[in-house]
């Protein structure tokens, strides 16, 4: 379980100080699929970065079961990310000079996962294993990014606008791959998006505005990627 209490985060100092998170509290249950919705500048991506240990919070506590992430130093955070977290970004951030196989291996080696090629197969890229990122389409690159994140067997997967740079068809396909793998592997998933329709796929939906959580609700029935409107 992930427990976040009264988290504050601001950038800049003096007159240019901008408080992005203003006392955010929430709880994420193991195996949950949480979607954080919000307009641009609502603080949703910052919240994701802070919860996942990419950025330190100014105030507040973040706990993963009995591990207090908010009081960890840089080395401890690196170790924590290695053991717990997987990331999928909007811009993919694949390593351009390595092929698909090696990009996925980047995640797999951290978890000692020798069977990472099964993950490449699971995202439908077995045939393109030796291709380089620039030889792939946007959707394929994002699927590599999915495989890379999952090959490290994370307990929690964080996704920052994973379909933001994709067209509708590819976006649906990528979401479907992610949800299928989530059902198989059972990890917790926290996704940031501005696409309200994607929220229908989640267990829990959190809506943010101006650095605060303004609404939280649970879906009684989750839709699939092909059932939602786009």
């Amino acid at each position: 379980m992930i427990k976040i209490e009264n988290v504050h985060k601001s950038y800049g100092t003096g007159d240019s100080r901008n408080e992005v998170l203003k006392g955010v509290s929430l709880t994420v249950k193991d195996g949950d699929f949480v979607v954080i919705l919000g307009a641009s500048g609502s603080g949703k991506s910052t919240l994701l970065n802070v919860i996942s240990g990419l950025e330190p919070a100014d105030e507040g506590t973040i706990c993963y079961d009995d591990r207090k992430v908010s009081s960890m130093n840089d080395t401890e955070l690196t170790k924590f990310r290695k053991e717990y977290i997987g990331y999928i970004f909007q811009q993919y951030f694949l390593l351009p000079n390595l092929d698909v196989d090696k990009n996925v291996k980047m995640g797999a080696d951290l978890a000692g996962n020798k069977e990472y090629r099964k993950t490449i197969k699971a995202v439908g890229l077995e045939e393109k294993r030796m291709k380089y990122p620039h030889e792939l389409s946007g959707g394929e690159q994002q699927r590599v990014s999915v495989a890379r994140a999952l090959a490290k067997k994370p307990k929690v997967l964080y996704l920052d606008e994973p379909t933001g740079a994709l067209d509708e068809q590819t976006g649906r396909q990528v979401l479907d791959y992610i949800c299928t793998l989530k059902r198989e592997l059972g990890f917790t998933m926290v996704m940031v998006t501005h696409n309200q329709n994607i929220a229908q796929m989640a267990d829990t939906v959190i809506r943010m505005n101006s650095g605060r959580i303004v609404e939280t609700y649970h879906n009684t029935k989750q839709k699939t990627a092909y059932e939602i409107a786009w």
């Binding site: 990419l54 950025e55 080395t75 390593l95 000079n97 390595l98 090696k102 980047m106 080696d109 490290k152």
Partner: protein, 391 residues
């Protein structure tokens, strides 16, 4: 597009800003060293030749010839070697500049600036060479009285003063500056040969050197090999930096015995400065080129130590190759100098491989190289995820 245009106009009022020229500190230092050494020895060569008629004794004549030959050899070798280094460094820098500013340069071309109009802005790089060369020339003249005294410590020659030769200033400072300015124009003109659209498209594209065959090594080993494969030019710079360090340090130890302490200190200083500057430029380039990779590795949970090993470790074997080649080179060069240039002269000690100098240089090299790599490893710890997110 409009914003880019305004930005280009601001940024490229002169195409290249003084800030960019300042970044070429490596070329400035190499120019300084080259002109410093050449001025010292060529000025001495001209001045000692002017008193040739007054040198009569047999030993004095032999010493006179030896001094002239040394001056010629040192000027040709160090000048030639450093000139070549400057040319390579300059081309590398211009190439890097064009690569990292393709979008802006493409916009300028699209707006109607001719290829030559853009390329001529690169002439400002010649200023950097001139600054280094002029400083080297001045430095050599400041040191000259002491140098002349040392060269005539045995009193073989009649006393003579260092004189100012304007032709030397033109040959060593003005002409190289003009040459480098021209080289900058022609090389950038060549690099800008593609169309505006291609330039802008290439800005987004990534050049990748693919692996020749499929391997099954651990990820970090794959990354280490790939990093070196992508930037072969940096292999040259790192090998060259260590080559300079190895050869000049060991040579300076032998020079103490074969020539003078002053020569030894001079060679050692140039070796250290040249090696450090080249190594720092190359390593900074490696770091910049791999900034995103390092950040992603850190995001996924790789430690800074592992990142450093993967990104910088691939160059280590080449550094040791540079050291070995430098050792062989300096031994061969001094052997030739002693057995050919100073052949038949009395008082010249027999030259053999200096084992203590080799080990001493090796220890200093290992400490220095590993220290620099550790410094960059520490720098990697400060890479933030925010940087790539905002990119």
């Amino acid at each position: 597009m409009m914003y880019e245009y305004v930005r280009c106009r601001e940024e490229y009022g002169m195409i290249i800003s003084f800030k960019d020229v300042f970044k070429m500190i490596g070329i400035l230092i190499v120019s300084f060293c080259a002109v410093f050494v050449c001025t010292l020895f060529l000025n001495y060569y001209i001045d000692i030749t002017s008193v040739e008629a007054a040198i009569t004794g047999q030993m004095a004549r032999i010493m006179y010839e030896a001094m002239r030959n040394t001056a010629k050899m040192v000027s040709a070798l160090s000048g030639g070697c450093l000139l070549l280094t400057s040319v390579v460094l300059l081309c590398f820098y211009i190439g890097h500049y064009v690569d990292t500013h393709k979008k802006q340069l493409g916009i300028l071309k699209a707006l109607g600036y001719s290829r030559f109009a853009i390329a001529k802005g690169f002439a400002v790089f010649g200023l950097c060479v001139f600054a280094g060369a002029a400083a080297g020339y001045l430095g050599a003249h400041l040191l000259m009285p002491g140098f002349y005294e040392t060269q005539n410590a045995e009193g073989y020659f009649p006393p003579f003063d260092a004189t100012f030769h304007p032709s030397l200033f033109i040959a060593l400072a003005v002409l190289p500056a003009v040459f480098f300015a021209m080289l900058s124009i022609f090389y950038s003109y060549y690099r800008l040969r593609v169309s505006a659209l291609t330039l802008m498209r290439e800005a987004a594209a990534v050049k990748v050197v693919k692996a020749k065959k499929e391997t099954n090594m651990p990820f970090l080993t794959e990354l280490r090999k790939s990093s070196v494969r992508q930037r072969k030019s940096l292999v040259f710079f790192i090998t060259f930096a260590v080559f300079c360090f190895s050869s000049m340090m060991q040579m300076s130890f032998s020079m103490d015995e074969l020539a003078s302490v002053m020569m030894a200190v001079m060679i050692m200083s140039i070796g250290i400065v040249l090696a450090c500057v080249t190594l720092l430029i190359a390593t900074t380039s490696v770091m910049k080129a791999n900034a995103k990779t390092i950040t992603m590795l850190k995001v996924f949970g790789y430690e800074a130590r592992e990142c450093a090993k993967a990104v910088l470790g691939g160059y280590r074997p080449w550094a040791y190759v540079g050291f070995a080649v430098g050792t062989v080179y300096q031994f061969g060069l001094l052997k030739i100098a002693v057995e050919v240039v100073f052949a038949g002269m009395e008082g010249i000690p027999e030259y053999g491989f200096d084992v203590p100098a080799f080990f001493c240089t090796l220890v200093v090299f290992v400490l220095l190289y590993e220290g620099i790599m550790r410094f960059y490893g520490k720098k990697m710890e400060r890479f933030s995820v925010k940087e790539i997110m905002l990119d």
